[in-house]
Amino acid sequence: MPGLPATYGPLAAELQRLAAADRRPISAAFELTSRCNLACRMCYVRRPAACAEARSSELSTEQWLDLAQAALDNGMLFLLLTGGEPLLRPDFFEIYTPLTQMGLLLTLFTNGTLITERVADLLAGAPPSRTEITLYGASAEVYEAVTGVPGSYARCCAGIEALTARGVPLGLKTTLTRQNVGELGAMREMAHAWGLPLSAGWLLSKRRDGADSEVEKCRLSFAACRELEAANLAPVTELIEAGLLGADAPSAADVPSFHCYAGKASFVISSVGEMSPCIDLIKPAARPLEVGFAAAWQEVQDFVDAAPPLDPVCSSCDARAFCPRCPSWSARETGTLSEPVPYLCELAFARRDLYAGWDHV
């Protein structure tokens, strides 16, 4: 066999690395809709499920399939289907089923509330390699305080159970807010009882489109973030593994503005057909259906390559290694691609104080 890793995670990582070196778009996300049947206050993208304007601007079934074929022809292997809530689209399976025959590794992000027995049967017949359901609480009271929709907790649990009963590969995740952080332990217990992994995220950004957001009322305090990270060292481990922390960390001048694979091996297409480097960015809004896939991909690469370098405040910051800021974060919080994000500055300072000396471990 060739000199590739034998296990899936390292293999996928190596394929992404090779693709980035060749500037091949191996990973994609199709945001099939920006609409959602839940109404989470902290969401960066959501538009109402019944929004006629949003619905009428979404790409058609045929347009999504044309884009998938074009992306496949240009090197796509990993494809995430997300939203909004992708299962809101009445034609979801008209898009999904042909994709399952193309030779792609599909991932589906969903809130789970629309997974009926019929939907579970259809997914089990040709499952994504991975489905991820976001759990917003461990009780109806808290879950629905976050989602704003009565009955959504029971429907989410039913969706999870329908997929687990059929053996569909599934993982759970949660977005922690001030409203539900107290139920993290209970959510872990629920996941354990279902035999499923649960990951948690708690960095909440403003809306991608710049519209008003209630995110600041939902964000955890820095003390709460620090407490969570102290109990779960994964974020720091990831920073060390990424080479951003510790004795071998690169200097600020050596770190490209986009230090992930966005615009180098991965891209996103929004519900209206605009291509960008990552799901948190709406620029450069390249139009593959109008200019062709390859030209749109080139436009995305050019956008990433032209991104400004680190702001001097960031490059001289002694907490930089602990900071998750990237051009996408700056875009959502400041409207630029490089300015410091005060929310993340505070978090980075808190991490620096907590993890001082970690690089000697």
């Binding site: 066999m1 293999l11 693709a19 091949r24 292997l77 025959q101 193309m102 030779g103 792609l104």
Partner: protein, 104 residues
């Protein structure tokens, strides 16, 4: 080498080479690497990727169920300019591996 009995669809585009063989896997060539990607219900049994080397990818394109080990070895020997005993051993190893992985 042509394989008239195999329903193969080969696309040679800018990026991937995609070969459909038996309705359970698609052979993709990504960044020069050969990968078998499970499709449809096969994801339930093979959730991930199978990597193939050049000889494995060549053999995968042949109608494996319809040819003898000798015929496969002869095809391999011609394609890669190796002696027949080496080719036979390679074919047997390949068949053992993919059978063991439930791919046939």
């Amino acid at each position: 080498m042509s394989c008239p009995q195999t329903e193969s669809r080969i696309q040679e585009g800018i990026g991937n080479v995609v070969v459909k063989r038996d309705g359970r896997f698609v052979l993709q060539q990504v960044s020069g690497e050969y990968l078998l990607v499970p499709i449809g219900s096969q994801v339930m049994d093979t959730n991930g990727l199978v990597t193939l080397n050049d000889t494995g990818a060549f053999l995968w394109r042949l109608p494996l169920e319809e040819l003898s080990v000798g015929e496969l070895a002869a095809a391999l020997a011609r394609e890669f300019d190796v002696d027949i005993s080496t080719a036979s051993a390679d074919v047997q190893t390949f068949l053992d591996e993919i059978t063991g992985m439930g791919l046939m």
